[in-house]
Protein backbone atom coordinates (compact mmCIF):
# COMPACT_ATOMS: atom_id res chain seq x y z
CA UNK A 1 0.00 0.00 0.00
CA UNK A 2 1.26 3.43 -0.90
CA UNK A 3 1.79 6.07 1.74
CA UNK A 4 -0.60 8.50 0.13
CA UNK A 5 -3.82 8.64 -1.86
CA UNK A 6 -4.06 10.48 -5.16
CA UNK A 7 -7.26 12.38 -5.93
CA UNK A 8 -7.92 13.07 -9.59
CA UNK A 9 -10.58 14.89 -11.55
CA UNK A 10 -10.37 14.99 -15.34
CA UNK A 11 -11.49 17.52 -17.90
CA UNK A 12 -11.79 15.85 -21.27
CA UNK A 13 -12.16 18.06 -24.32
CA UNK A 14 -13.79 16.15 -27.13
CA UNK A 15 -13.96 17.57 -30.66
CA UNK A 16 -17.36 16.79 -32.11
CA UNK A 17 -17.40 15.18 -35.56
CA UNK A 18 -19.78 17.63 -37.18
CA UNK A 19 -19.43 18.55 -40.84
CA UNK A 20 -19.22 22.27 -40.10
CA UNK A 21 -17.99 24.42 -37.23
CA UNK A 22 -20.05 25.33 -34.16
CA UNK A 23 -21.19 28.82 -35.15
CA UNK A 24 -20.43 29.06 -38.87
CA UNK A 25 -20.47 26.85 -41.96
CA UNK A 26 -16.70 26.49 -42.30
CA UNK A 27 -15.70 22.84 -42.75
CA UNK A 28 -14.65 21.01 -39.60
CA UNK A 29 -11.66 19.18 -41.06
CA UNK A 30 -8.41 18.07 -39.46
CA UNK A 31 -5.18 18.50 -41.42
CA UNK A 32 -6.29 20.94 -44.13
CA UNK A 33 -3.96 23.66 -45.40
CA UNK A 34 -3.64 26.43 -42.78
CA UNK A 35 -6.31 29.14 -42.74
CA UNK A 36 -8.39 27.63 -45.54
CA UNK A 37 -11.44 26.88 -43.34
CA UNK A 38 -12.03 30.35 -41.99
CA UNK A 39 -14.71 33.00 -42.47
CA UNK A 40 -15.94 36.29 -41.04
CA UNK A 41 -17.55 34.54 -38.05
CA UNK A 42 -14.67 32.36 -36.85
CA UNK A 43 -12.17 35.15 -37.55
CA UNK A 44 -14.28 37.49 -35.43
CA UNK A 45 -14.59 40.11 -38.17
CA UNK A 46 -16.77 43.11 -37.26
CA UNK A 47 -20.47 42.68 -37.90
CA UNK A 48 -20.43 38.91 -38.16
CA UNK A 49 -22.93 36.90 -36.11
CA UNK A 50 -22.76 33.30 -34.90
CA UNK A 51 -25.58 30.78 -35.43
CA UNK A 52 -25.52 27.55 -33.44
CA UNK A 53 -25.00 24.25 -35.28
CA UNK A 54 -28.03 21.99 -34.59
CA UNK A 55 -25.85 18.88 -34.80
CA UNK A 56 -23.55 20.08 -32.01
CA UNK A 57 -26.60 20.26 -29.75
CA UNK A 58 -27.79 16.84 -30.84
CA UNK A 59 -24.36 15.35 -30.14
CA UNK A 60 -24.34 16.88 -26.67
CA UNK A 61 -27.75 15.28 -26.04
CA UNK A 62 -26.41 11.92 -27.23
CA UNK A 63 -23.54 12.17 -24.78
CA UNK A 64 -26.03 13.15 -22.07
CA UNK A 65 -27.90 9.89 -22.63
CA UNK A 66 -24.71 7.83 -22.67
CA UNK A 67 -23.24 9.39 -19.52
CA UNK A 68 -26.44 9.52 -17.47
CA UNK A 69 -26.38 13.31 -17.48
CA UNK A 70 -29.35 15.52 -16.77
CA UNK A 71 -30.37 18.05 -19.37
CA UNK A 72 -31.64 21.24 -17.70
CA UNK A 73 -34.58 22.98 -19.32
CA UNK A 74 -32.42 25.82 -20.49
CA UNK A 75 -28.78 26.45 -21.23
CA UNK A 76 -26.95 29.56 -22.37
CA UNK A 77 -23.65 30.40 -23.97
CA UNK A 78 -21.19 32.75 -22.32
CA UNK A 79 -18.15 34.66 -23.38
CA UNK A 80 -14.92 33.63 -21.71
CA UNK A 81 -12.76 36.71 -22.08
CA UNK A 82 -9.01 36.54 -22.43
CA UNK A 83 -6.32 38.02 -24.62
CA UNK A 84 -4.41 35.38 -26.46
CA UNK A 85 -4.02 35.08 -30.21
CA UNK A 86 -5.48 31.54 -30.40
CA UNK A 87 -8.91 33.22 -30.50
CA UNK A 88 -9.18 36.18 -32.85
CA UNK A 89 -12.25 37.53 -31.02
CA UNK A 90 -10.48 37.92 -27.66
CA UNK A 91 -13.04 35.62 -26.14
CA UNK A 92 -14.05 32.01 -26.47
CA UNK A 93 -17.73 31.19 -26.71
CA UNK A 94 -18.35 28.62 -24.01
CA UNK A 95 -20.92 27.74 -21.36
CA UNK A 96 -20.53 28.82 -17.78
CA UNK A 97 -23.31 28.82 -15.21
CA UNK A 98 -25.97 27.16 -17.37
CA UNK A 99 -24.34 24.26 -19.24
CA UNK A 100 -26.32 21.97 -21.52
CA UNK A 101 -25.83 18.89 -19.28
CA UNK A 102 -25.05 18.28 -15.59
CA UNK A 103 -24.79 15.54 -12.94
CA UNK A 104 -23.97 12.26 -14.63
CA UNK A 105 -21.71 9.27 -14.11
CA UNK A 106 -19.67 6.69 -15.94
CA UNK A 107 -19.02 3.25 -14.51
CA UNK A 108 -15.40 2.04 -14.55
CA UNK A 109 -14.78 -1.55 -13.46
CA UNK A 110 -17.75 -1.45 -11.10
CA UNK A 111 -16.99 2.02 -9.69
CA UNK A 112 -19.05 5.06 -10.59
CA UNK A 113 -17.08 8.17 -11.49
CA UNK A 114 -19.28 11.22 -11.17
CA UNK A 115 -19.49 13.67 -14.06
CA UNK A 116 -20.10 17.23 -12.97
CA UNK A 117 -21.05 18.59 -16.34
CA UNK A 118 -20.49 18.38 -20.07
CA UNK A 119 -20.75 21.70 -21.82
CA UNK A 120 -20.40 23.00 -25.35
CA UNK A 121 -17.69 25.40 -26.36
CA UNK A 122 -15.67 26.31 -29.42
CA UNK A 123 -12.15 25.10 -30.00
CA UNK A 124 -9.29 27.56 -30.42
CA UNK A 125 -6.82 28.08 -33.26
CA UNK A 126 -3.42 26.44 -33.32
CA UNK A 127 -0.35 28.52 -32.52
CA UNK A 128 3.12 27.52 -33.51
CA UNK A 129 5.82 29.24 -31.47
CA UNK A 130 8.81 30.14 -33.56
CA UNK A 131 12.22 30.76 -32.04
CA UNK A 132 14.90 28.93 -30.15
CA UNK A 133 13.66 25.53 -29.09
CA UNK A 134 10.04 26.18 -30.09
CA UNK A 135 8.97 26.73 -26.47
CA UNK A 136 6.72 29.58 -25.54
CA UNK A 137 9.09 31.48 -23.29
CA UNK A 138 11.90 31.62 -25.80
CA UNK A 139 9.68 32.16 -28.84
CA UNK A 140 10.26 35.30 -30.84
CA UNK A 141 6.89 35.23 -32.50
CA UNK A 142 3.99 32.86 -33.11
CA UNK A 143 2.21 31.72 -36.24
CA UNK A 144 -1.49 31.05 -35.99
CA UNK A 145 -3.79 28.81 -38.03
CA UNK A 146 -7.51 29.40 -37.38
CA UNK A 147 -8.86 26.28 -39.11
CA UNK A 148 -9.58 24.79 -35.68
CA UNK A 149 -11.03 27.99 -34.21
CA UNK A 150 -14.76 27.44 -33.82
CA UNK A 151 -14.73 23.65 -34.11
CA UNK A 152 -17.35 22.33 -31.65
CA UNK A 153 -16.00 20.87 -28.43
CA UNK A 154 -17.73 19.11 -25.61
CA UNK A 155 -15.86 19.56 -22.35
CA UNK A 156 -16.61 16.70 -20.01
CA UNK A 157 -15.69 17.47 -16.41
CA UNK A 158 -15.48 14.64 -13.89
CA UNK A 159 -15.86 14.82 -10.15
CA UNK A 160 -12.64 14.27 -8.13
CA UNK A 161 -13.64 10.61 -7.84
CA UNK A 162 -10.60 9.02 -9.46
CA UNK A 163 -7.95 7.56 -7.15
CA UNK A 164 -5.04 6.40 -9.31
CA UNK A 165 -3.29 7.07 -12.58
CA UNK A 166 -4.39 3.67 -13.80
CA UNK A 167 -8.03 4.41 -12.96
CA UNK A 168 -7.74 7.74 -14.77
CA UNK A 169 -6.53 5.88 -17.83
CA UNK A 170 -9.42 3.42 -17.55
CA UNK A 171 -11.87 6.32 -17.24
CA UNK A 172 -10.54 7.90 -20.42
CA UNK A 173 -10.60 4.56 -22.24
CA UNK A 174 -14.22 3.97 -21.25
CA UNK A 175 -15.18 7.54 -22.09
CA UNK A 176 -13.45 7.24 -25.46
CA UNK A 177 -15.21 3.97 -26.26
CA UNK A 178 -18.54 5.53 -25.27
CA UNK A 179 -18.04 8.68 -27.36
CA UNK A 180 -17.05 6.51 -30.30
CA UNK A 181 -20.06 4.23 -29.86
CA UNK A 182 -22.56 7.08 -29.80
CA UNK A 183 -20.93 8.49 -32.93
CA UNK A 184 -20.12 12.01 -31.77
CA UNK A 185 -16.34 12.01 -32.28
CA UNK A 186 -13.54 10.12 -33.95
CA UNK A 187 -11.76 10.29 -30.53
CA UNK A 188 -8.31 10.33 -32.12
CA UNK A 189 -5.95 11.52 -29.41
CA UNK A 190 -3.07 11.75 -31.87
CA UNK A 191 -5.04 14.30 -33.88
CA UNK A 192 -6.17 16.22 -30.83
CA UNK A 193 -9.79 15.09 -31.06
CA UNK A 194 -9.54 14.17 -27.38
CA UNK A 195 -7.45 16.33 -25.07
CA UNK A 196 -7.16 16.00 -21.32
CA UNK A 197 -6.42 18.25 -18.37
CA UNK A 198 -5.97 16.50 -15.03
CA UNK A 199 -6.59 18.04 -11.61
CA UNK A 200 -4.34 16.19 -9.20
CA UNK A 201 -3.90 16.38 -5.43
CA UNK A 202 -2.63 14.04 -2.74
CA UNK A 203 -3.65 13.29 0.84
CA UNK A 204 -3.14 10.77 3.61
CA UNK A 205 -5.35 7.74 2.93
CA UNK A 206 -8.69 8.08 4.68
CA UNK A 207 -8.37 11.83 5.12
CA UNK A 208 -11.72 13.54 4.55
CA UNK A 209 -10.17 16.68 3.08
CA UNK A 210 -8.68 17.25 -0.31
CA UNK A 211 -5.12 18.54 -0.70
CA UNK A 212 -4.27 21.58 -2.80
CA UNK A 213 -4.53 20.63 -6.43
CA UNK A 214 -2.52 21.36 -9.53
CA UNK A 215 -4.05 21.32 -12.98
CA UNK A 216 -1.90 19.51 -15.52
CA UNK A 217 -2.38 20.56 -19.12
CA UNK A 218 -1.20 19.19 -22.39
CA UNK A 219 -1.98 15.51 -21.91
CA UNK A 220 -2.33 14.20 -25.43
CA UNK A 221 -1.99 10.46 -24.96
CA UNK A 222 -2.94 7.84 -22.41
CA UNK A 223 0.75 7.32 -21.78
CA UNK A 224 1.26 11.00 -20.97
CA UNK A 225 -1.78 10.89 -18.70
CA UNK A 226 -0.38 7.95 -16.71
CA UNK A 227 3.13 9.32 -16.46
CA UNK A 228 2.06 12.87 -15.64
CA UNK A 229 -0.26 11.82 -12.81
CA UNK A 230 2.36 9.51 -11.35
CA UNK A 231 5.03 12.19 -11.53
CA UNK A 232 2.79 14.93 -10.17
CA UNK A 233 1.43 12.94 -7.23
CA UNK A 234 4.96 11.90 -6.23
CA UNK A 235 6.10 15.50 -6.50
CA UNK A 236 3.26 16.76 -4.32
CA UNK A 237 3.73 14.05 -1.73
CA UNK A 238 7.47 14.75 -1.50
CA UNK A 239 6.66 18.42 -0.94
CA UNK A 240 4.19 17.72 1.85
CA UNK A 241 6.58 15.23 3.47
CA UNK A 242 9.26 17.91 3.45
CA UNK A 243 6.84 20.27 5.18
CA UNK A 244 6.40 22.45 2.12
CA UNK A 245 3.16 23.62 0.58
CA UNK A 246 1.68 22.54 -2.73
CA UNK A 247 0.82 25.64 -4.75
CA UNK A 248 -2.48 25.76 -6.59
CA UNK A 249 -1.39 26.32 -10.18
CA UNK A 250 -1.42 25.16 -13.75
CA UNK A 251 1.41 22.85 -14.71
CA UNK A 252 2.43 21.67 -18.13
CA UNK A 253 3.43 18.12 -18.85
CA UNK A 254 6.73 17.93 -20.68
CA UNK A 255 6.89 14.61 -22.47
CA UNK A 256 10.64 14.74 -23.09
CA UNK A 257 11.83 15.40 -19.56
CA UNK A 258 8.97 13.40 -18.04
CA UNK A 259 8.16 16.24 -15.64
CA UNK A 260 5.37 18.71 -14.98
CA UNK A 261 6.50 22.34 -15.17
CA UNK A 262 4.90 25.24 -13.35
CA UNK A 263 2.76 27.36 -15.65
CA UNK A 264 1.66 30.41 -13.78
CA UNK A 265 1.29 31.22 -10.15
CA UNK A 266 -1.99 31.87 -8.38
CA UNK A 267 -1.43 35.63 -8.42
CA UNK A 268 -1.78 35.65 -12.19
CA UNK A 269 -4.70 33.26 -12.15
CA UNK A 270 -7.07 34.05 -14.95
CA UNK A 271 -10.11 36.13 -14.46
CA UNK A 272 -12.23 35.35 -17.48
CA UNK A 273 -15.05 37.78 -16.71
CA UNK A 274 -17.70 35.46 -18.12
CA UNK A 275 -20.91 37.06 -19.26
CA UNK A 276 -23.85 35.79 -21.31
CA UNK A 277 -23.17 35.80 -25.05
CA UNK A 278 -25.55 38.45 -26.43
CA UNK A 279 -25.37 37.10 -30.00
CA UNK A 280 -26.76 33.67 -29.17
CA UNK A 281 -30.18 32.89 -27.76
CA UNK A 282 -30.69 30.22 -25.07
CA UNK A 283 -31.03 26.55 -25.94
CA UNK A 284 -34.05 24.72 -24.56
CA UNK A 285 -33.87 21.09 -25.67
CA UNK A 286 -37.40 19.98 -26.46
CA UNK A 287 -38.97 16.65 -25.59
CA UNK A 288 -39.04 15.89 -29.30
CA UNK A 289 -35.29 16.51 -29.66
CA UNK A 290 -34.56 14.27 -26.70
CA UNK A 291 -36.86 11.50 -27.94
CA UNK A 292 -35.26 11.52 -31.36
CA UNK A 293 -31.83 11.15 -29.80
CA UNK A 294 -33.00 8.41 -27.47
CA UNK A 295 -34.51 6.42 -30.33
CA UNK A 296 -31.25 6.44 -32.24
CA UNK A 297 -28.92 5.55 -29.37
CA UNK A 298 -26.73 2.53 -30.10
CA UNK A 299 -25.69 -0.17 -27.67
CA UNK A 300 -23.19 1.28 -25.19
CA UNK A 301 -19.76 -0.31 -24.68
CA UNK A 302 -20.55 -1.81 -21.27
CA UNK A 303 -23.64 -3.59 -22.63
CA UNK A 304 -21.79 -4.64 -25.77
CA UNK A 305 -18.93 -6.19 -23.77
CA UNK A 306 -21.38 -8.01 -21.52
CA UNK A 307 -23.13 -9.42 -24.59
CA UNK A 308 -19.91 -10.78 -26.13
CA UNK A 309 -18.79 -12.30 -22.85
CA UNK A 310 -22.16 -13.98 -22.41
CA UNK A 311 -22.91 -15.06 -25.98
CA UNK A 312 -19.42 -15.89 -27.21
CA UNK A 313 -17.86 -17.14 -23.98
CA UNK A 314 -14.87 -14.84 -24.32
CA UNK A 315 -12.87 -13.13 -21.56
CA UNK A 316 -13.38 -9.58 -20.32
CA UNK A 317 -10.08 -8.41 -21.79
CA UNK A 318 -10.99 -9.86 -25.21
CA UNK A 319 -14.32 -8.06 -25.08
CA UNK A 320 -12.63 -4.81 -24.09
CA UNK A 321 -10.21 -4.91 -27.02
CA UNK A 322 -13.01 -5.68 -29.48
CA UNK A 323 -15.04 -2.72 -28.28
CA UNK A 324 -12.16 -0.26 -27.88
CA UNK A 325 -10.58 -0.64 -31.30
CA UNK A 326 -12.75 1.24 -33.79
CA UNK A 327 -14.47 -1.13 -36.20
CA UNK A 328 -13.07 -4.29 -34.63
CA UNK A 329 -16.28 -5.44 -32.95
CA UNK A 330 -18.27 -5.00 -36.16
CA UNK A 331 -15.64 -6.99 -38.02
CA UNK A 332 -15.75 -9.79 -35.45
CA UNK A 333 -19.56 -9.84 -35.47
CA UNK A 334 -19.66 -10.22 -39.23
CA UNK A 335 -17.01 -12.97 -39.10
CA UNK A 336 -18.98 -14.86 -36.46
CA UNK A 337 -22.17 -14.47 -38.49
CA UNK A 338 -20.36 -15.84 -41.56
CA UNK A 339 -19.17 -19.01 -39.78
CA UNK A 340 -20.91 -21.99 -41.35
CA UNK A 341 -23.12 -23.58 -38.72
CA UNK A 342 -21.64 -27.04 -39.17
CA UNK A 343 -18.01 -25.93 -39.33
CA UNK A 344 -17.20 -26.70 -35.73
CA UNK A 345 -15.55 -23.28 -35.44
CA UNK A 346 -16.71 -21.07 -32.61
CA UNK A 347 -17.12 -17.36 -32.00
CA UNK A 348 -14.34 -17.73 -29.45
CA UNK A 349 -12.01 -19.04 -32.17
CA UNK A 350 -12.92 -16.06 -34.33
CA UNK A 351 -12.16 -13.64 -31.48
CA UNK A 352 -8.78 -15.29 -30.84
CA UNK A 353 -7.75 -14.70 -34.43
CA UNK A 354 -9.14 -11.17 -34.37
CA UNK A 355 -7.24 -10.27 -31.21
CA UNK A 356 -3.95 -11.73 -32.38
CA UNK A 357 -3.37 -11.74 -36.11
CA UNK A 358 -6.03 -9.35 -37.36
CA UNK A 359 -5.26 -6.73 -34.70
CA UNK A 360 -1.53 -7.01 -35.40
CA UNK A 361 -2.23 -6.51 -39.10
CA UNK A 362 -4.39 -3.43 -38.43
CA UNK A 363 -1.77 -1.92 -36.14
CA UNK A 364 0.95 -2.58 -38.65
CA UNK A 365 -0.86 -1.20 -41.70
CA UNK A 366 -3.04 1.45 -40.08
CA UNK A 367 -6.01 0.09 -42.02
CA UNK A 368 -9.52 0.16 -40.60
CA UNK A 369 -11.12 -3.24 -39.93
CA UNK A 370 -14.00 -1.99 -42.07
CA UNK A 371 -11.97 -2.55 -45.25
CA UNK A 372 -11.18 -6.18 -44.42
CA UNK A 373 -13.43 -9.07 -45.42
CA UNK A 374 -14.60 -10.86 -42.28
CA UNK A 375 -16.00 -13.72 -44.39
CA UNK A 376 -12.40 -14.68 -45.20
CA UNK A 377 -11.56 -15.01 -41.52
CA UNK A 378 -14.70 -17.11 -41.03
CA UNK A 379 -13.53 -19.45 -43.78
CA UNK A 380 -10.10 -19.73 -42.16
CA UNK A 381 -11.61 -20.60 -38.77
CA UNK A 382 -13.75 -23.26 -40.46
CA UNK A 383 -10.68 -24.71 -42.20
CA UNK A 384 -8.85 -25.03 -38.88
CA UNK A 385 -11.89 -26.50 -37.15
CA UNK A 386 -12.26 -29.08 -39.91
CA UNK A 387 -8.60 -29.99 -39.51
CA UNK A 388 -7.78 -29.01 -43.10
CA UNK A 389 -4.90 -26.91 -41.85
CA UNK A 390 -3.18 -26.65 -38.49
CA UNK A 391 -3.22 -23.50 -36.38
CA UNK A 392 0.40 -22.92 -37.25
CA UNK A 393 -0.32 -23.12 -40.97
CA UNK A 394 -3.40 -20.98 -40.52
CA UNK A 395 -1.25 -18.10 -39.28
CA UNK A 396 0.60 -17.94 -42.58
CA UNK A 397 -2.57 -18.42 -44.57
CA UNK A 398 -4.33 -15.62 -42.71
CA UNK A 399 -1.38 -13.29 -43.18
CA UNK A 400 -1.55 -13.87 -46.92
CA UNK A 401 -5.33 -13.66 -46.96
CA UNK A 402 -5.31 -10.27 -45.22
CA UNK A 403 -2.46 -8.91 -47.31
CA UNK A 404 -3.68 -10.06 -50.74
CA UNK A 405 -7.43 -10.15 -50.00
CA UNK A 406 -7.48 -13.79 -50.99
CA UNK A 407 -9.81 -16.54 -49.78
CA UNK A 408 -8.02 -18.91 -47.36
CA UNK A 409 -9.29 -21.98 -49.22
CA UNK A 410 -7.66 -20.71 -52.43
CA UNK A 411 -4.37 -20.17 -50.61
CA UNK A 412 -4.50 -23.66 -49.11
CA UNK A 413 -5.12 -25.16 -52.55
CA UNK A 414 -2.39 -23.13 -54.20
CA UNK A 415 0.14 -24.06 -51.57
CA UNK A 416 -1.01 -27.67 -51.50
CA UNK A 417 -0.94 -27.66 -47.72
CA UNK A 418 -4.32 -29.15 -46.99
CA UNK A 419 -3.96 -31.71 -44.24
CA UNK A 420 -5.29 -35.22 -44.52
CA UNK A 421 -7.89 -35.38 -41.78
CA UNK A 422 -10.10 -38.09 -43.25
CA UNK A 423 -10.34 -40.68 -40.51
CA UNK A 424 -10.84 -43.63 -42.85
CA UNK A 425 -7.79 -42.76 -44.91
CA UNK A 426 -5.66 -42.24 -41.83
CA UNK A 427 -6.87 -45.47 -40.21
CA UNK A 428 -5.89 -47.37 -43.41
CA UNK A 429 -2.38 -45.93 -43.29
CA UNK A 430 -2.03 -46.73 -39.58
CA UNK A 431 -3.15 -50.30 -40.13
CA UNK A 432 -0.60 -50.65 -42.94
CA UNK A 433 2.21 -49.27 -40.76
CA UNK A 434 1.28 -51.58 -37.87
CA UNK A 435 1.17 -54.58 -40.22
CA UNK A 436 4.62 -53.75 -41.55
CA UNK A 437 6.00 -53.40 -38.02
CA UNK A 438 4.24 -56.18 -36.13
CA UNK A 439 6.36 -55.98 -32.94
CA UNK A 440 6.17 -52.26 -32.27
CA UNK A 441 2.70 -52.17 -30.78
CA UNK A 442 3.60 -55.00 -28.42
CA UNK A 443 6.85 -53.29 -27.41
CA UNK A 444 4.92 -50.08 -26.79
CA UNK A 445 2.48 -51.72 -24.43
CA UNK A 446 5.22 -53.58 -22.55
CA UNK A 447 7.67 -50.66 -22.41
CA UNK A 448 8.35 -48.09 -19.69
CA UNK A 449 7.70 -44.39 -20.12
CA UNK A 450 10.82 -43.75 -22.19
CA UNK A 451 10.27 -46.75 -24.40
CA UNK A 452 6.61 -45.82 -24.93
CA UNK A 453 7.63 -42.36 -26.03
CA UNK A 454 10.20 -43.72 -28.43
CA UNK A 455 7.88 -46.26 -30.02
CA UNK A 456 5.08 -43.73 -30.32
CA UNK A 457 7.43 -41.32 -32.09
CA UNK A 458 8.47 -44.05 -34.46
CA UNK A 459 4.88 -44.91 -35.39
CA UNK A 460 3.91 -41.24 -35.83
CA UNK A 461 6.94 -40.78 -38.07
CA UNK A 462 6.01 -43.76 -40.24
CA UNK A 463 2.39 -42.65 -40.62
CA UNK A 464 3.38 -39.06 -41.41
CA UNK A 465 5.87 -40.30 -43.99
CA UNK A 466 3.14 -42.31 -45.70
CA UNK A 467 0.95 -39.19 -45.67
CA UNK A 468 3.80 -37.05 -47.02
CA UNK A 469 3.83 -34.94 -43.88
CA UNK A 470 0.30 -33.68 -44.39
CA UNK A 471 -1.52 -35.89 -41.94
CA UNK A 472 -3.58 -34.20 -39.25
CA UNK A 473 -1.54 -34.91 -36.14
CA UNK A 474 -4.55 -34.82 -33.84
CA UNK A 475 -6.48 -37.36 -35.86
CA UNK A 476 -3.43 -39.63 -36.18
CA UNK A 477 -2.85 -39.47 -32.44
CA UNK A 478 -6.42 -40.36 -31.69
CA UNK A 479 -6.58 -43.35 -34.03
CA UNK A 480 -3.15 -44.60 -33.01
CA UNK A 481 -4.36 -44.40 -29.43
CA UNK A 482 -7.29 -46.67 -30.27
CA UNK A 483 -5.22 -49.13 -32.27
CA UNK A 484 -2.12 -49.39 -30.10
CA UNK A 485 -2.73 -48.28 -26.55
CA UNK A 486 -6.44 -48.92 -26.28
CA UNK A 487 -6.38 -52.68 -26.73
Amino acid sequence: MTAYETVIGLEVHCELATASKMFCGCPNEFGDEPNTNVCAVCLGLPGSLPVLNAMAVEYALRVADALNLRVPERSVFSRKNYFYPDMPKNYQTSQYDEPITIDGWLEIDGVRVGITRAHLEEDTGKSQHVGVGGRIHDAEFSLVDYNRAGVPLLEIVSEPDIRSAEQAKRYVEELRATLLAVGVSDVKMEEGSLRIDANVSVRTPGSPEFGTRAEIKNLNSLRSLLRAIEYESDRQWSLTQAGEKVVQETRHWDEESGRTISGRSKEEAHDYRYFPEPDLVPVEPTQEMRERVRASMPELPAAQRARYIEQWGIGAEDARVLVDVPGLAAYAERAVAALPGDSGGSAKDVVNWVRQEVLAYINETGLSPAVLAPEMLAELVALVAAGTISRQQAKDVLAESLRDEKWPRTIVEERGIAQVSDEGAIADVIDRVLAANPNVAEEYRAGDEAAKKKKWGFLMGQVMRELKGRGNAQVINRILEQRVAGE
Binding site: G25, P27, E33, D86, S127, G131, L143, T250, R264, P282
Partner: protein, 100 residues
Protein backbone atom coordinates in the same frame (compact mmCIF):
# COMPACT_ATOMS: atom_id res chain seq x y z
CA UNK B 1 -24.94 52.82 -3.28
CA UNK B 2 -22.47 50.35 -4.79
CA UNK B 3 -19.07 49.63 -3.36
CA UNK B 4 -16.40 52.07 -4.42
CA UNK B 5 -14.26 51.14 -7.38
CA UNK B 6 -10.75 51.17 -6.03
CA UNK B 7 -7.56 52.02 -7.80
CA UNK B 8 -6.59 48.33 -7.54
CA UNK B 9 -9.84 47.32 -9.31
CA UNK B 10 -9.08 49.61 -12.21
CA UNK B 11 -5.51 48.41 -12.47
CA UNK B 12 -6.65 44.80 -12.39
CA UNK B 13 -9.26 45.26 -15.11
CA UNK B 14 -6.82 47.28 -17.21
CA UNK B 15 -4.27 44.48 -16.90
CA UNK B 16 -6.86 41.89 -17.97
CA UNK B 17 -7.83 44.03 -20.94
CA UNK B 18 -4.18 44.69 -21.78
CA UNK B 19 -4.67 48.47 -21.44
CA UNK B 20 -1.80 50.68 -20.42
CA UNK B 21 -3.44 53.49 -18.42
CA UNK B 22 -1.81 56.72 -17.36
CA UNK B 23 -1.96 57.92 -13.76
CA UNK B 24 -4.67 60.46 -14.65
CA UNK B 25 -6.71 57.86 -16.45
CA UNK B 26 -6.62 55.53 -13.47
CA UNK B 27 -7.94 58.30 -11.22
CA UNK B 28 -10.65 59.47 -13.60
CA UNK B 29 -11.74 55.94 -14.54
CA UNK B 30 -12.09 55.00 -10.87
CA UNK B 31 -14.65 57.79 -10.53
CA UNK B 32 -16.40 57.16 -13.83
CA UNK B 33 -16.72 53.42 -13.31
CA UNK B 34 -18.03 54.11 -9.79
CA UNK B 35 -20.69 56.41 -11.22
CA UNK B 36 -21.71 53.79 -13.77
CA UNK B 37 -22.05 51.16 -11.07
CA UNK B 38 -24.07 53.53 -8.92
CA UNK B 39 -26.41 54.07 -11.84
CA UNK B 40 -26.82 50.36 -12.45
CA UNK B 41 -27.33 49.83 -8.72
CA UNK B 42 -30.68 51.59 -8.93
CA UNK B 43 -32.06 48.26 -10.13
CA UNK B 44 -31.43 46.81 -6.69
CA UNK B 45 -34.10 49.11 -5.31
CA UNK B 46 -36.70 47.07 -7.21
CA UNK B 47 -38.24 43.88 -5.95
CA UNK B 48 -37.02 41.33 -8.55
CA UNK B 49 -38.16 38.36 -6.51
CA UNK B 50 -40.48 37.00 -9.22
CA UNK B 51 -38.40 38.04 -12.20
CA UNK B 52 -36.42 35.17 -13.73
CA UNK B 53 -32.80 35.93 -14.60
CA UNK B 54 -32.49 36.67 -18.28
CA UNK B 55 -29.50 36.27 -20.52
CA UNK B 56 -31.15 37.75 -23.53
CA UNK B 57 -33.75 40.40 -24.30
CA UNK B 58 -35.29 38.53 -27.26
CA UNK B 59 -38.21 36.15 -26.68
CA UNK B 60 -36.41 33.50 -28.72
CA UNK B 61 -34.81 30.12 -28.00
CA UNK B 62 -33.35 27.34 -30.16
CA UNK B 63 -32.11 29.27 -33.15
CA UNK B 64 -30.10 26.69 -35.07
CA UNK B 65 -28.59 26.22 -38.47
CA UNK B 66 -28.27 22.83 -40.20
CA UNK B 67 -24.87 21.18 -40.06
CA UNK B 68 -23.84 21.94 -43.61
CA UNK B 69 -20.30 22.91 -44.55
CA UNK B 70 -19.57 25.51 -47.17
CA UNK B 71 -16.16 26.75 -48.29
CA UNK B 72 -14.39 29.37 -46.21
CA UNK B 73 -13.12 32.70 -47.51
CA UNK B 74 -10.27 32.76 -50.03
CA UNK B 75 -7.10 32.47 -47.99
CA UNK B 76 -5.20 35.18 -49.84
CA UNK B 77 -7.93 37.69 -49.09
CA UNK B 78 -8.05 36.68 -45.45
CA UNK B 79 -4.31 36.94 -44.97
CA UNK B 80 -4.14 40.21 -46.92
CA UNK B 81 -6.07 41.82 -44.08
CA UNK B 82 -3.50 40.77 -41.47
CA UNK B 83 -0.66 43.08 -40.38
CA UNK B 84 1.86 40.26 -40.62
CA UNK B 85 1.83 36.86 -42.31
CA UNK B 86 4.29 33.99 -42.57
CA UNK B 87 3.89 30.48 -44.02
CA UNK B 88 0.19 31.09 -44.72
CA UNK B 89 -0.37 31.82 -41.04
CA UNK B 90 -1.06 34.93 -39.03
CA UNK B 91 2.18 36.12 -37.51
CA UNK B 92 1.73 37.57 -34.04
CA UNK B 93 4.21 39.06 -31.56
CA UNK B 94 5.98 36.90 -29.03
CA UNK B 95 3.49 35.79 -26.44
CA UNK B 96 4.36 36.62 -22.88
CA UNK B 97 3.13 34.29 -20.18
CA UNK B 98 1.36 31.02 -20.66
CA UNK B 99 -1.48 29.84 -22.80
CA UNK B 100 -4.92 30.31 -21.26
Amino acid sequence: MAERITRADVEHVAQLARLALSEEEIVSLSEELGAILDYAAQVSALDTHDVPPTAHPLPLVNVFRPDEARPGLPRDEVLAAAPSVQDKRFRVPRILGEEP
